[in-house]
Amino acid sequence: MAFDKHNTPMLDQLETGPWPSFISGIKRMRDDHPSETINKTINDLLGQLEHSYETRKGYWKGGTVSVYGYGGGIIPRFSEVGKSFPESKEFHTVRVQPPAGNHYTTAMLRQLGDSWEKYGSGLVTFHGQTGNIMFIGTDTVRTQDFFDEINDYGWDLGGAGPCVRTAMSCIGAARCEMSCLNEQKAHRLLVNNFVDDVHRPALPYKFKFKVSGCGNDCQNAIERADFAMLGTWRDNMKVDQEEVKAYVAKKGRKYITDNVITRCPTSALSLNDDDTLNVNNRDCVRCMHCLNVMPKALHPGDDKGATICIGGKRTLKIGDLMGTVVIPFKKLETDEDWESLVELAETIIDFWAENALEHERCGEMIERIGLVNFLEGIGIDPDPNMISEPRQSSYVRMDDWDEAAEAYFARKAEA
């Protein structure tokens, strides 16, 4: 291996300390990997990264790279200092969709790794913030080769750009007792219904599906997804009173009072004189706190489903938005239930694609046109669960109040 290794005195300082060092991993690829192409590519990558550390600037610019038939899924990177670091001057990332829940067989991981070492740098991230496996570092030609090979054995690209993005779901039903829906089914069903919209970016901006099996929201769905599903239940939570008593005996009444009873956001809990728990299930908002503290004693009810919140996103451009409740409860049991979930997603994406401005996320559109117009656009009736409180401003015209009130009573009578 006859090549000069770049000195990396600043990066070397990230090899000390007890936390595993990404720099040490990258260096081993330069020094020990059997492929000389990878050794040299990684050497120049380290050289450019050291240059960034010295000058406190990034040196990658975007461009247009894709695979035949798709418009997105690749994050193109061309070096602005490619003359000094020619071996890594093209260093694109290939975004690949993981299985829902991020479960892997080692056989599949090894197979993906082998393909990536054949066509790319070998460097990989599990996972990026959107939820993709990020295969970091290959040139334009080998991007296609890598995709062809992994596509042959069952993997597909994720989203990038103004499109439906790779979805995310929690461990859910696969391992968690809090799970209130089949998270992984919901994830795969939704995102795979929009495969065309994933690969061919033609929407106003990005659109993300994230699925969490309960209000703990381990996928941060409500704050990161345009379409967030949060598991919940309609009937009573299950209370194993013997386990409650055992818990009180173990931790003491003061602990239970301070950490369970008084922490309930809707004051729906009280401790009975015999150390059993009293739950007002109609006041309970399924926040999950008491279940988290006493997972052996308390469980979700049997009539499970999901609350669907629309419009969550991070800062750009009008500021952070949490998703707003649009479907307070969606049962997901029969094939028809699942079909109607997909139809809801289609209706929302169609309405948004039709009405959003350039670069406007779904939540921003709702903020601009108003929740009521959005609900009318997607054919959903208003529900008190969608708001934290009714309007405060009296400066409003209510021309159709009587009709709206009638419709409300008619819906109540039907329910």
Binding site: P20, M108, Q144, D145, F147, W155, R175, V195, D258
Partner: protein, 357 residues
């Protein structure tokens, strides 16, 4: 170029059923409870009585093929050939045999050098962004800052001694892909973008104009060619335009700094989700180890660890003790810049007689 004539098959996300640990497949949707046996080790018990033991390890997120192969080796030996990753880039090794727990821990520590932890009320692995390694917009390197910070916080990853879980994120620009967290580090710029008018022809100008949250960008002819200008009084240095067009250079190595935000929470537990708020600004962007950023995070964590009640997240703790006490405990200054002036400003003012004296 490949000779493949077959178009891509649009197959989407692969079938998770092929990748589920057999114990998960068997008990899918039928789990009863879990118990944290010690930091980093959880036992999940199914209604059937089956137990699944999970060992969680912190990863450096971006990994070499050799590291991935080592993860697979361990999973092959102890986990029936299955492995999974969490949203915070932790690796989870699952086994139905309690006697495998200690050998997994030993193998993970010795062969991978990964710490065990990140469960319960610990400081979990940091959610972060690509930084100088791969992003086209970064003013800092999240990976490096995270490595240095986790070197400092590894004890808190390996123990469960915080009032509740702590999620930290770092981001290399204000788009903040690292997202909301109990503690979040974000880059802040200090002046308007410098425009490279010669290169402006490569950009879609309407997009550059439309992206600006402050409506500070407008089209302008420069030297006979179409370009844009920035109204300096309106610009608040967010760099959104830079994401649209590399000619809107927002980064400045001499002036860029970091800011720290606290109290973000996605979970609906107790009071519900909350957005993070400004704690401190002007932390030096100081590679390779960003010691000032680590110090500031340490101060917040120390105060929270000391004063937080069990189950209180960082934001809930601050809400209880009040912001005056937060600034007192951390030693950060409270300035006029902490007072919101955005569209929701009124909702952030104290409009009651509730004051902590």
């Amino acid at each position: 170029m490949s000779e493949s004539t077959m178009g891509p098959r649009n197959q989407g996300a692969p079938d998770y059923n092929l990748h589920l640990h057999p114990m998960m497949a068997k008990n899918y949707g039928k789990w009863d409870h879990h118990e944290r046996l010690k930091p980093g080790v959880i036992r999940y018990t199914a209604e059937s009585g089956d137990n699944l033991y999970v060992v969680r390890a912190g990863s450096p997120r971006t990994m070499s093929p050799a590291t991935v192969h080592k993860i697979c080796d361990i999973a092959d030996r102890f986990c029936d050939g299955f492995v999974r990753f969490t949203i915070r880039c932790n690796v989870e090794f699952s086994t139905d045999k309690a006697e495998n727990i200690e050998p997994i821990i030993k193998a993970v520590k010795e062969e991978l050098g990964f710490p065990i932890g990140g469960t319960g009320n610990s400081v979990s692995n940091i959610a972060h962004t690509q930084g100088w390694l791969h992003c086209n917009l970064p003013a800092t390197d999240a990976s490096g800052a995270v490595k240095a910070l986790m070197d400092d916080l590894i004890d808190e990853f390996e123990k469960e001694e915080m009032p509740n879980r702590v999620h930290i994120s770092t981001s290399c620009c204000q788009i903040n892909c690292g997202s909301h967290a109990d503690i979040s580090i974000i880059v802040q710029h200090h002046h308007a973008p410098r425009i490279d008018h010669k290169n402006m022809m490569i950009c879609e100008l309407p997009k550059v104009v439309a992206i600006c949250p402050a409506a500070a960008i407008r089209p302008k002819m420069m030297n006979g060619a179409t370009s844009v200008e920035v109204v300096e009084e309106k610009c608040m240095y967010c760099g959104a335009c830079h994401g649209q067009c590399p000619s809107m250079e927002i980064r400045d190595a001499d002036t860029d700094t970091l800011s720290i935000w606290v109290g973000g929470k996605a979970s609906s537990t107790r009071g519900g989700p909350s957005q993070m708020k400004l704690a401190v600004w002007g932390i030096p962007n100081n590679p390779p180890r960003w010691p000032e950023a680590s110090d500031a995070v340490r101060k917040i964590l120390a105060a929270y660890k000391e004063g937080g009640k069990p189950w209180e997240r960082v934001g809930e703790w601050i809400e209880r003790i009040g912001w005056a006490k937060f600034f007192e405990k951390t030693g950060f200054p409270f300035t006029r810049y902490h007072i919101e002036d955005g569209p929701d400003a009124l909702t952030t003012f104290n409009r009651s007689s509730h004051v902590r004296l």
